[in-house]
Point group: C4
Chain length 201, copies 4
């Protein structure tokens, strides 16, 4: 457990920083565009794409962290392939503030399609990271506690595969219907939280 | 305890980063506005809204962290609802740098009302996060050490409810008297520190 | 020890973030000011005030962290006054990126005096934080391991008092001789590292 | 182990933050340069120097962290010289976002040479940090577990020396052939991961 403790600490750091950096993309309405109290209220309301992007990405990173937390609870040791798969997963997490800022900038404009495609594709890459992590847990050596029923990981496996399919589908969908793709992203986030709240640990 | 150790580590990371990011909103007086030593002194003094906003938010996050620390000391296990309630609380903490920057930009100007309303409302949402956390500690299963007298949490419960009422009141007050609302915020911060220093652990 | 573990984790997070945020103040020479390879070399060399400020502040935060680390090694428990004194110390650490950026902007210009005074004054406030922490270790209750000889803390006490005197002196000095004040800051940093390397633990 | 636990935590924090801050250098294509969906696609593709710099530096920091992790696994205690050598190593890690941003700005332009030289030189300084850390592990007192075969560290020593030589060579090479120097950097990164995956722990 000691060995994995530090991997958890490093991963927690990356999750915590990536989730906190999201806020930097929210920009205060600039002073020279505000000429009345009403202007500032309007400026704050016009930031809704930023609030939406912030909430969406916060939810995704938070769900990722909760799953990461439960995965490590059943791990016994680690391996270098696992370390690098985890590193790749963290890469996709640290990348999140960029598509988030992209989405915040272009959602609701005529040019939102590339932004939504890019955002959903980020979800695809993140799913690949999760699949690699799950793969290295089983190979080359079993990382689980001997007392763990291997079926326990099956729900993780299924939700990881579901994530990949949903993100790949919404990436393609976003070329034509970006708003629909975003709604699917939001639904996935809510479904994941709802499902995982009912898991019996 | 092991299970909660990682939730604490992740939460600590988020608290530590949010409290440290506050400094990024303090901007050095730009070189081209400075034509004498006196100009730079003036520039540094004119940053008082930023210093004030920095100190106010630093205090709020620090008090939140101290309370979080003492709450976890009496917890024995966690549950998924608790994890998500804690996640929502962390959301309100990572959000802090934005209303802080907003306050720093508009305090002392003719347009400060929306900024102060927004800031106080951030306190309301943070209080809701705290109430959710406390709620999930008791339901659906009791997460406390068996040796803990449940009355111990009553002071936390009371101060969480107090926070909600005070922030809700000051949000409304800020529509007419923003300066008074800010003073209440500052007082609340000082009261919380003073009270908690005298708690016997 | 468990109780202090989390205070250490939170403090470590703040130290680690403050020390890493220093780099954000180093700005890449802007593309439109570069018209030849020689221009870019010159641009990189002209950043020396930023490199200097980065190194100086990095050293100060690192020495602070090393001392913090050794102080916690001899602590047994904590108290709320200690928690808030530590919080105040962390406040002065998170504040560091601002005077660092100020120094980087104005060192070597005609207007450097306020920047250096401000920077040294930051050192004074940091010393006050350290004095408060040391004070709360002894009062209202002794937080040390029973096996620790109280004299052990005397060297920490002395160096904390030395820091206060040197920073206060260099703050005053900077009004007339800012370069001399900076050299003293740099020397203090080197003296502290040299001294502490020879401490027998 | 307790003593080193906190050094690991602080180091992990610095690694995690430095690796996450890299993303801040990726800038969303500005709204006023985008007049069609095709413009935004082009803008996202034109960011390839930023993606490349991000990936290259992410890989370097990740490999550094993995090595750091394995080094600490065989350490038993620490010393102040070791603490400061580790501090110097962390200095070179926190510095990474700057050469990364420099590379992202100038790669592919006529002025890329200074940027690549600077980036490779950062690798040289990082290697010096690693050499200092390894040196202080053996002197003044042995930090290894008594059960560790000292030969275990020989591979770390060799790869640290290899890193120094390769980075020094590519720094010189970059004055004439910057693209070749960058390819060597990328190869080194891939070689290190490949080698370390096959290490038997």
């Amino acid at each position: 457990m000691k060995e994995n403790a530090r991997i958890e600490a490093f991963s927690d750091g990356v999750f915590a920083i990536a989730i906190t950096l999201l806020i930097l993309e929210l920009k205060v309405p600039p002073h020279d565009s505000v000429h009345s109290v009403a202007d500032l209220w309007k400026g704050l309301i016009n930031l809704w794409p930023s609030y939406f992007a912030f909430l969406l990405s916060f939810g995704i990173i938070l769900v990722s962290w909760v799953n990461h937390h439960y995965l490590f609870n059943v791990l016994d040791k680690s391996s270098r392939p696992f370390l690098y798969a985890n590193g790749f997963l963290l890469l996709t997490i640290t990348f999140m503030p960029f598509p988030t800022a992209l989405l915040a900038e272009y959602i609701g404009t005529d040019y939102m399609k590339p932004a939504v495609v890019f955002y959903c594709f980020g979800g695809v890459v993140n799913s690949i990271g999760w699949n690699l992590v799950i793969h290295t847990v089983f190979k080359p050596k079993l990382l689980l506690h001997h007392t763990v029923n291997i079926d326990v990981l099956d729900s993780t496996k299924r939700s990881v595969r579901l994530g990949f399919i949903v993100y790949a589908f919404s990436t393609v969908l976003a070329f034509w219907f970006p708003v629909a793709a975003l709604i699917i992203n939001l639904l996935l986030w809510i479904v994941w939280i709802t499902l995982s709240i009912n898991v019996k640990d």
